[in-house]
Symmetry: C2
Subunit: 354 residues, 2 copies
Amino acid sequence: MSEVRTIGILGGGQLGRMLSVAASRLGLRCHIYEPGANPPAAEVAHACTTASYEDEAALRAFARSVDVITYEFENIPTSALDLLEDLRPIRPGREALRVSQDRLTEKSFLRDLGLATAPFADVTDAASMTVALDGIGTPAILKTRRLGYDGKGQARLSTPADAEAARAAMNGAPAILEGFVDFSREISVIAARNADGDVACFDPGENLHDNGILRRTTVPAGIPGPMRMDAVLIASKILNALDYVGVLGVELFVTPGGLVVNEIAPRVHNSGHWTQNGCVVDQFEQHIRAVAGWPLGDGARHADVVMENLIGEDMERVPELARRPDTALHLYGKAETRAGRKMGHANIVTAKSS
Amino acid sequence: MSEVRTIGILGGGQLGRMLSVAASRLGLRCHIYEPGANPPAAEVAHACTTASYEDEAALRAFARSVDVITYEFENIPTSALDLLEDLRPIRPGREALRVSQDRLTEKSFLRDLGLATAPFADVTDAASMTVALDGIGTPAILKTRRLGYDGKGQARLSTPADAEAARAAMNGAPAILEGFVDFSREISVIAARNADGDVACFDPGENLHDNGILRRTTVPAGIPGPMRMDAVLIASKILNALDYVGVLGVELFVTPGGLVVNEIAPRVHNSGHWTQNGCVVDQFEQHIRAVAGWPLGDGARHADVVMENLIGEDMERVPELARRPDTALHLYGKAETRAGRKMGHANIVTAKSS
């Protein structure tokens, strides 16, 4: 079926940890590459290399020890990818990374596919900021084009007078001004595509964010059936356009005019953690299946699930959650609990309602 | 809740592998101790010691690196247990091992609890064999008292004339003669008890064996409700009598006169693998919770499951099973497929019927 036995994962956080566990169910093993010491993924991985993304010898040895390479975050330095790509296949491929590493490229890509996005404009200097503000108005949000996640690298503009302060907050990095979307709900679709071009989607989940960090995902999302189908079709369109192999997360806004794509993530996604207790094959195994050349699992959902992130002091809830009969805990084994740090999540599972 | 962070596991086979994965969900990590090279559990464990059970220095270093010790098989040499017990708690405790390591001790223990067992008698020599045969008759089965599993170390007696050959097959080991039980079904209960004395049981599963090796477990078992309750009460009685901490497997025969206990296993059990896809907390996590001092999870079942072992050439079924939407694969990553070797299992999941 597939000759892949060892999967290399760039990044050793909780996503790598859960990917490694999923790989073990298929009899596969994982080698983690992570610059930081004692990464969560190493505790359940066959091997772990602790080295920087500039260490060419370490990257080469890593690539040669694995059959295929994947990643748990999208901001991998290009030089490392260039080196690795010569030695082993990288899945999902470079095009998905190129598009998702840069907000401007991503938004343009989505618009060119005919998908709705927030209004956006390139901001490189004071002059382009003025043009952007003229077109988009306020309120708006200025974001660095690269390396932003969980609300970092963003500045809000309530009035045009905030423009200078917002630009200063970018520290000179190229940025994109985005208009606000008037949405009633935020949902996301976790979708997968394998090398044969097969696509499988999980049910959309409804997301609650707080300060840019996901707090909770609820499935099923409170949206009508035709909109669920729209979400799935949007995800499929993106997967096919990228000739994608692996799991992709698509965040969407529900608006009176239909679905607006917020952003895509070329990897397993926090808002897909509910699949661990709601599906026979979860998003982590689905990603491993795609990357390793296996058939995709079925995305059907057999339960309703509320996924709650355990962030920082939320860990104090663990003793109570451990006693709840409907709750599955997934802790990441991070030694130090810090404010804002994702420490684990809980899936609260109930009988399927719809 | 519990200060346990690292769990030591004696034995590195598939049970240790799945225990280590379950521990990771609770943010815990495992250190495997296994004499054989490249054990399946090491691929998902924080650490692995490859050393014999006679290597006192290795045993000491292992014990000192962990907070609590458990095991995936019951035939651990006594000398190793004596050494380890002085350094760290062993859970389940020595009494459970003493009872389950010896078929005669086990049967006597069960009988003394008032539970029904097959008729049995001690066989040490030709004279005791004659006495045993007089009491039990044929057909009967002669088994070594220690170190038997998966049908090994057993000889069947169709008539009293088979006595000499059966005794010879024991190679001088102390043995026990067991009468046959006229049963309609084989079932098993997987039950857990934690240090606080709380008990939780999973639904009984119905087992199909072939040549002494488990082929399939089906839940729910085809038995009436009151008998399910009897099975659970029997398991609870055994757990409490042993002051047990961890998961225990109890195999039972369904007979016209009620349930007869076949044997107990002081560990997670092959017939409990269905819980991975049928329960919020599976038998592996349940064992880790008990051993680590956590509250037990709920044993409630949310689906019907058929667990099929993949033994030897059954691995050829994997490509087909990987395509089935209702099937969860659990492969053990063993490098070499051999006849009779447990290579993995498949859980076929359907909506809960009863």
